[in-house]
């Protein structure tokens, strides 16, 4: 059974923006779209380790601030001509509160 851990309210994240969750294994970037969808990705671009949480969020995508790779936040896959993927984490939102799956965090900690 999935064990969910609360990380905060969706209002803590600006629309078309992101915040980070610090874990022992590194940072997880949590994004909020204009339509209040929430996504969680590893905060590290597979290209040159750019912090994706600092990128511009547009629709369901985020553009890495270092070299403009664009990722589909739902799948973690790079869009356009670039090939690569960033790890995604399962998220649940209940009454405006965001939960992240504890076991994915455990995997992250490995």
């Amino acid at each position: 059974m999935t064990n969910w851990i609360e990380i905060g309210s969706i209002n803590a994240i600006p629309r078309r923006g992101a915040r980070c969750v610090n874990t022992p294994a590194g940072k997880i970037a949590v994004f909020r779209t204009q339509e209040d969808q929430i996504f969680a990705l590893e905060n590290r671009c597979p290209h040159r380790d750019g912090p994706l949480s600092e990128g511009i969020v547009h629709g369901g995508s985020v553009t890495c601030p270092l070299h403009n790779w664009v990722f589909d936040m739902a799948t973690g896959k790079a869009l356009g001509a670039d090939v690569g993927a960033v790890r995604t984490y399962a998220i649940d939102v209940v009454d405006g509160r965001i939960f992240i799956a504890a076991d994915t965090m455990a995997v992250a900690a490995e």
Binding site: I7, P14, R15, P24, R48, D49, I56, G59, S61, M105
Partner: protein, 816 residues
């Protein structure tokens, strides 16, 4: 197993060879390139348009830095190779780098031939081979003055035309009776001379240059008949010689060039050579088409694929001087076994001559009207019997088969094998195949996929006709380049509509202008945000989420995710209190690096994001504000010490610089904006390579603008002279506001100026005082909303979410 491939030279031939190699044998080689020039691979054929000002260096780059990174190529820039050790299979650079190779490619190109005449080493004697030569010529042209070009061949004439366009008075000295005598017959050479003379270029044929005069710098040229021509620069363009010294020193077989066989192999089985440095079957080459053929052969050789080897083929010549149409191919000497057809139209300046042997075309010279060149060339290559069409042959393809065809039908009628792009050897079938097969719709698409028209560009018209013939009305060459894939509109249309329709927010723009995406992209959002900030001061609310990270958090992101912090130092002046505060901040926050910037201030590097507000608080407390070192906005105003201290200073350059910076800080501009004020023409503040620069003189202030000293290097243009500091300030501010209103996002001031033209800028901010005043006042109004220190705002809690994690989960206890 990966083999180590080392290439000496980074010109067009090895660049093309690598493109093929990465396509056919990816991963086979680990590639290292040594480039004596301090830059990436660029299109040397296009240096002439750079010299004439029609293109910039950016436009002619073939492989940007990203290409080398993508293919894992190690590129040493500005590193010359000193020797090759064939026994150890290593090369050694002049800087001491030793690199081992499994295979070595020598592509050292050619050197300009310097005729052994007295004075050929004086300052001001230039050659015309690379970008450095072009930059040197452009710099010399700034002073106007006289240029003498020695050599009336392709290169010399392109240099002459470019320098004339840059405002120099130019004389061409040619040692034969007519210009370009190796590619043109005397009649066409005469027409060419007439065209150049009409453009104000002096031409002296049969000129025998005996001496270049001058003590340390060139002052003139003396000819054998005793006549003298004044000159501030002399361009040597009499020919090139293969650069084979390195190969010769290594004991490889060398005649005129490095001797290679048809497979590009030198006398050492592990060493290959290609390009202008080689000699194949007794010939050396200087035009791009045979060099690209060599690149194909060598790529196949390295990939261990079968290849027929290099065979010398006829190459067509064009002169890249705007407005001069000239085409020549093949053999045009006279002879008993030859026959010719000539068409002349003196009024229109047209001359066409075909040389035939046994009813087959063996040469063609076209002047004034050259569109049939590729067709004649095709007939020549296919050795077509022309008896049937002899009566109409000279009129060109349009007149074959009865009624004249329009140009489009003529292109449509070309066989698939007809060569369209001579530089890259691209035939019609390959282009039309790519257009239909890959759904290409623009010239750039075709260039990217087929390379056609991607080198010298003279076949651009043909490629466009092919696009039109293949796509019909779906091809719309006049279409403006869309701002980004979210819209069909270009920058200027978007901006015009923002004002015309009073659009005052990003969602409004996207809705009214029918954006194709719901939320834009990383390209259009910052662009729209800038346009709205600049066009609706006080009304539009800046959208932080549409700004790049640096402008959102007011610091520069570094490659490791930390930030750099640069406080303002007005006009580059500081004091013990500020320096002490900076030192204390560096200690307190364990900031790992402190550096003096090129803009006369201090950079604190490696600040953790969460420390930023506290760092700013301490700097604020010492009276310092954000230096906006991250902004598409006013950066620095560099100054010298001026009349306060300097014995040469004519005005208070420091005081004026500080006044400008205090007046203009906080302003957002399309791209970064750097200023400088020098107190005298010695120009210690380097004002003549800035976006806007002021040179103080006894009588007031010379205002310069549109310089660049980054990717591109460009001296400024003189805008005007101002008698007083107040007048200079008003002009500079008005100029900045005009740029704010007209510049496209990310377009530096020199690119904007080139696009709109200096006359329109002068008309708005110099000659018409009412307009100048209006621009000035609009800037002042906008500043009333812009001059708020963003650091202080954030110290006081704005955007606090940016600087703290959303949640923390504890670190595991170490080693338990």
């Amino acid at each position: 197993m990966t083999e180590k491939l080392v290439i000496i030279g980074n010109g067009m031939a090895p660049g093309r060879m690598l493109e093929h190699l990465f396509e056919t044998a990816p991963g086979k080689f680990d590639v290292t390139i040594f480039n004596a020039e301090p830059r990436v691979n660029y299109d040397r054929i296009m240096l002439s348009p750079v010299l004439s000002g029609e293109k910039s260096f950016d436009d002619i780059v073939i492989h940007g830095d990203a290409w080398y990174i993508k293919h894992g190529v190690t590129l040493y820039k500005a590193v010359r190779v000193a020797r090759i050790d064939r026994d150890a299979k290593t090369i050694t650079s002049e800087t001491g780098i030793v690199e081992a190779y499994d295979r070595l490619v020598i592509a050292t190109g050619s050197l300009p031939f310097m005729p052994p005449i007295e004075g050929n080493t004086l300052a001001g004697v230039l050659s015309y081979r690379d970008l450095d030569d072009v930059n040197a010529m452009m710099l010399a042209a700034k002073a106007r003055g006289h240029a003498v070009v020695i050599g009336g061949g392709l290169l010399g004439l392109e240099a002459a035309a470019g320098l004339a366009l840059q405002g120099m008075s130019v004389t061409v000295l040619h040692n034969a009776p007519t210009l370009m005598n190796r590619q043109l017959d005397p009649a066409a050479g005469y027409l060419l001379e007439r065209t150049l003379v009409e453009r104000g270029i002096s031409v002296i044929c049969n000129a025998d240059t005996r001496q270049i005069m001058g003590d340390s710098h060139v002052t003139g040229v003396r000819l054998a008949d005793g006549s003298e021509i004044a000159a501030d620069i002399v361009i040597m363009a009499v020919g090139i010689r293969p650069n084979a010294a390195l190969a010769r020193d290594a004991g490889l077989a060398v005649n005129r060039g490095i001797v290679v066989d048809a497979q590009m192999r030198t006398s050492d089985p592990f060493i290959y050579a290609l390009g202008e440095c080689v000699e194949v079957a007794g010939s050396c080459f200087g035009l791009v088409a045979p060099l690209y053929d060599m690149a194909n052969v060598l790529a196949a050789q390295l990939a261990e694929e079968a290849t027929l080897g290099f065979v010398e083929q006829a190459t067509a010549t064009r002169l890249k001087v705007t407005g001069v149409n000239l085409y020549s191919v093949g053999d045009f000497g006279e002879g008993d076994d030859r026959d010719e057809i000539v068409l002349r139209d003196a009024q229109a300046g047209i001359y066409k001559r075909l040389i035939l042997k046994n009813d087959r075309i063996i040469g063609a010279v076209l002047y004034g009207e050259t569109s049939d060149g590729p067709w004649f060339f095709d007939l020549l290559k296919r050795v077509v019997d022309t008896r049937e069409m002899r009566d109409t042959l000279i009129f060109g393809q349009a007149y074959q088969g009865g009624s004249p065809l329009d140009p489009m039908a003529a292109v449509a009628a070309l066989p698939d094998e007809a060569e369209i792009c001579g530089c890259n050897g691209v035939c019609k079938g390959k282009i039309t195949g790519a257009i239909t097969g890959k759904g290409l719709t623009t010239l750039d698409d075709v260039r990217a996929h087929t390379k056609a028209s991607a080198s010298c560009g003279s076949c651009t018209g043909l490629v466009e006709q092919l696009l039109h013939a293949t796509l019909g009305d779906a091809y719309n060459p006049a279409a403006v380049l869309p701002m980004c894939p979210c819209t069909e509109l270009g920058h200027d249309d978007v901006r015009r509509l923002i004002i015309a329709k009073s659009l005052k927010s990003i969602p409004e723009v996207m809705q009214e202008l029918e954006w194709k995406t719901s939320c834009g992209c990383a390209k259009c959002r910052p662009t729209l945000n800038y346009y709205l900030v600049a066009d609706w001061p006080g009304e539009y609310e800046d959208d932080g989420q549409s700004r790049f990270i640096n402008e959102r958090v007011h610091a520069n992101i570094q490659k490791d995710g930390t930030y750099s912090v640069v406080p303002r130092m007005w006009g580059g002046m500081t004091n013990p209190k500020e320096l002490r505060a900076i030192a204390d901040v560096a200690d307190k926050f364990h900031i790992p690096a402190v550096k003096v910037t090129g803009g006369q201030r201090i950079d604190l590097l490696g600040v953790r994001k969460e420390d930023l507000p506290a760092v700013w608080a301490d700097l604020n407390a010492a009276g310092m504000v954000s230096g906006a070192a991250y902004a598409k906005g006013l950066r620095t105003v560099k100054t010298c010490v001026g009349s306060d201290w300097c014995r040469f200073g004519t005005q208070d350059s420091t005081g004026f610089g500080i006044r400008l910076e205090k007046f203009m800080w906080g302003a957002w501009t399309p791209a970064k904006l750097k200023l400088a004020v020098s107190g005298c023409p010695r120009n210690c503040a380097e004002a003549t390579c800035k976006d806007i620069g002021v040179i103080c003189v006894d009588s007031g202030y010379d205002i310069h603008f549109a310089g660049a000293a980054g990717l591109e290097i460009k001296g400024t243009e003189l805008l005007c002279h101002a008698d007083s500091e107040d007048e200079a300030l008003e002009i500079i501010v008005a100029l900045t506001q005009l740029y704010r209103e007209q510049g496209r996002y990310l377009e530096r001031i020199y690119k904007w100026a080139k696009r709109v033209g200096t006359p329109s800028i002068l008309a708005n901010v110099v000659t018409d005082l009412d307009k100048r005043r209006a621009y000035y006042e609009r800037f002042v109004y906008a500043q009333s909303f812009a001059q708020i220190d963003p650091w202080e705002e954030r110290v006081n809690g704005k955007d606090a979410h940016e600087f703290a994690a959303m949640a923390e989960f504890g670190m595991p206890v170490a080693a338990e």
